[in-house]
């Protein structure tokens, strides 16, 4: 009989809130140095997919919660034809909630967020590329635990719901926590609907040196610059009393030991109040302080408890899904979405075996924009090439333009920009 899994604590939310303007699909992709061979990629996918049992699933409807069941159908690689983070229709994808795409030199994995987070997606992509290269006859030496092999038996720790494992019972009523409304970027949605991605490539080590000189980390620097770009483009010349809030997903595996390949992240909101003129240095200071305090273990423990407690209460559990999902959607739209201006994720420097690095140019991460948060930002680094990707669902691109211009002028570094041109005449 097929194996089944409960959807993890964060994953349930994505099932509830996904709609046409919020695909909950993100993309992790690599640009290879050579053109991608479709047959080779398919062969690699066929041998890798069973290694990731919590990805090789289909979603089934339940009365109180949906659930995932192992999917025995074939998942075919597809040539990229539409915009990144396009909603995935399982009916057109043999039931799967993720896609493996290729286009010229790019191999991309697009995943419905309820399956896994960025860490899980990167692990899958690494194994897929390793297998792809090996099947092509390339000699790849792998030392240590840099990646998962397709012939390994998946450990039970990889399929666990780590939220449940680290949950601590608490008497705090998280429903009473007040959510502060954040400034929202407004714009004209693309017609036809779609996602425009603009990537900027910069030297990671050089940027790290610049950030260090300014006394902040790379994530803090980029976050501060994004806030400054939003401030410069939307409120510098007006009288605003707003707060710009950047939602930053935090990989909980770094604080709570876990090798789960399912979702295990929390979101930290870094907020800067704008009451008048503000400088980049002031923003950097505020971002740095908040990121440090909000990523300490106790704060993250509270976040885990909040996630789990809300779903563990009997009241939540016994309400049928047809009532629960609209309630979760309401909470998401009126609280979660309102508390942030933009989401920024930094997957960091991806740990790849040295022998694999020679085949890979760089990595890109595109996060789906949503109706209330129409611009999102994803960062990933491979081979000292940091790719900062802005995905947007609106025509207006001033914030992104301001970000890259200031990044280039402030650091003096070369920034190479390219786009998928969605919504633009070429």
């Amino acid at each position: 009989m097929s194996k089944w899994y409960k959807i993890d604590n964060v994953g349930k939310v994505f099932h509830a809130v996904t709609e046409a303007s919020n695909s909950s699909v993100y993309r992790v992709s690599v640009l290879m140095k050579d053109m991608v061979d479709e047959e080779g990629l398919q062969e690699a996918l066929d041998s890798v997919i069973k290694r990731f049992p919590t990805l090789a699933v289909k979603v089934r409807k339940g009365v109180f919660w949906d659930f995932m069941e192992s999917n025995e159908e074939k998942l075919s690689v597809q040539k990229e034809t539409t915009y990144p983070c396009h909603p995935i229709n399982p009916k057109e994808n043999n039931g799967y909630l993720f896609k493996v795409l290729y286009f010229n030199k790019r191999i991309a994995v697009e995943i419905f967020h309820s399956l896994t987070d960025g860490t899980g997606a990167v692990e899958f992509l690494k194994t897929l590329i390793y297998q792809y290269l090996t099947l092509r006859g390339e000699e790849i030496a792998v030392d240590g635990d840099a990646l998962l092999f397709s012939d390994q038996v998946p450990s039970k720790y990889e399929t666990e719901d780590s939220f449940e494992k680290y949950y601590q019972k608490s008497n705090r009523n998280y429903l009473q926590d007040k959510v502060q409304r954040a400034f929202q970027i407004k714009g004209t949605p693309f017609d036809p609907k779609g996602v425009n991605v603009i990537h900027g490539v910069i030297s990671a080590s050089a940027l790290n040196n610049v950030a260090k000189r300014m006394g902040v980390s790379i994530t803090e620097f980029i976050t501060a610059l994004v806030i400054y770009a939003i401030y410069s483009e939307t409120m510098k010349y007006g009288i605003y009393k707003e707060n710009i809030s950047i939602a930053i997903p935090v990989n909980l595996r770094q604080r709570f030991p876990s090798v789960t390949l399912r979702n295990f992240f929390s979101v930290v909101n870094v907020r800067v109040d704008i009451n008048g003129d503000i400088t980049l240095e002031e923003i950097m200071k505020a971002v740095s302080e908040q990121l440090k305090s909000k990523t300490d273990k106790q704060h993250l423990q509270d976040e885990i408890n909040r996630h789990v407690q809300l779903q563990k209460s009997l009241k939540t559990r016994i309400v049928p899904l047809s009532l629960k999902y609209p309630a979760m959607r309401y909470g998401f739209t009126h609280y979660g979405e309102m508390a942030k201006t933009l989401t920024l994720t930094n997957l960091g420097n991806i740990n790849l075996p040295d022998s694999m690095k020679g085949y890979i140019e760089r990595m890109e991460v595109a996060l789906y924009p949503t109706k209330n948060s129409p611009i999102s930002c994803g960062v990933a680094t491979v081979n000292d090439q940091m790719t900062i990707t802005f995905a947007r669902s609106i025509v207006e691109s001033e914030v992104i333009k301001s970000f890259f211009s200031q990044l280039s002028r402030l650091t003096g570094l070369n920034v190479e920009v390219y786009s998928n041109n969605w919504g633009e005449t070429r």
Binding site: M1, W4, K6, L31, M35, R60, K61, G62, V63, F64, W65, F67, E69, E72, K79, E80, T81, T82, Y83, N89, K91, E92, F103, N104, K105, R106, P192, G194, I198, G200, R317, I318, S397, I400, K401, F404, S405, S408, R409, N414, V415, E416, V417, Y418, S419, N420, N421, W422, E424, R426
Partner: protein, 219 residues
């Protein structure tokens, strides 16, 4: 590689993706990074809209003519019922990607409703509740059973719909008890058939059904 002086970035586009200024006449002959997107025309949505509009036009025109000419005999309800049924069949049964089980159930409901309206309009001789509805339910249950037997691997996907069909199978008995239907054997026959289908499923696949219940009802 081109350079946009305005944005201070290197670009491999003719037009800067940031400021949309034209910065060069051509780009280096490099491999394209993204495909040229084609706007997909939603042909299916268009057909569905045409069917909906034709159905509404047909039904409303007939209804108005009926009221103006002879309001005592509501013959236009045949047309309205037929139009609604046509719309359901086109939009759900033929064009949608809904589960086959859901399509069968909606067909049972819509076809039964149309036949009741027709029966009612023509003097309510009860042929719809006595014969037509029981027959439709038996045929639908049989169809579901055949699909399950043919698609053994995926039969659990149909389990929920089979249970719904089982419940629907008892509607004719309800109609008889409430006095709406007057022929006992067709009503009892339908319910017995539904019951036998359920017993058969439980007998041959008890373990699978139990497991399916655990999954579907987990809290």
């Amino acid at each position: 590689m081109n350079y946009c002086n305005h944005c201070a970035v290197s670009i491999n586009h003719v037009t800067c993706p940031l400021c949309h200024r034209k910065v060069a006449e051509s780009i280096d002959n490099e491999v394209k990074l993204y495909p040229d997107y084609m706007t997909m025309k939603k042909r299916r949505t268009f057909i569905a809209k045409v069917v909906a509009f034709l159905s509404i036009t047909m039904a409303s025109t007939c209804f108005v003519i009926n009221l103006l000419v002879n309001a005592d005999y509501l013959w236009s309800l045949y047309v309205v019922g037929g139009a609604v049924y046509l719309w359901v069949t086109m939009n759900h049964t033929l064009l949608s990607s809904a589960h086959t089980g859901a399509k069968i159930i909606l067909q049972v409901i819509s076809l039964s409703s149309v036949l009741v309206i027709m029966d009612f309009t023509s003097g309510f001789q009860r042929w719809s509740v006595n014969f037509a509805i029981p027959l439709i339910i038996i045929m639908a249950t049989l169809l579901t059973t055949i699909i399950i037997l043919k698609k053994r691997v995926h039969w659990r996907d149909y389990m929920g719909y089979t249970f719904v069909m089982f419940v629907i199978g008892f509607i004719p008995i309800g109609l008889y008890i409430s006095g709406i239907a007057t022929v006992l054997w067709t009503c009892v026959g339908t319910s017995l058939y539904a019951l036998l289908t359920l017993i058969g499923m439980l007998l041959f696949s008890y373990k699978t059904i139990k497991e399916e219940f655990i999954r579907r009802f987990h809290v």
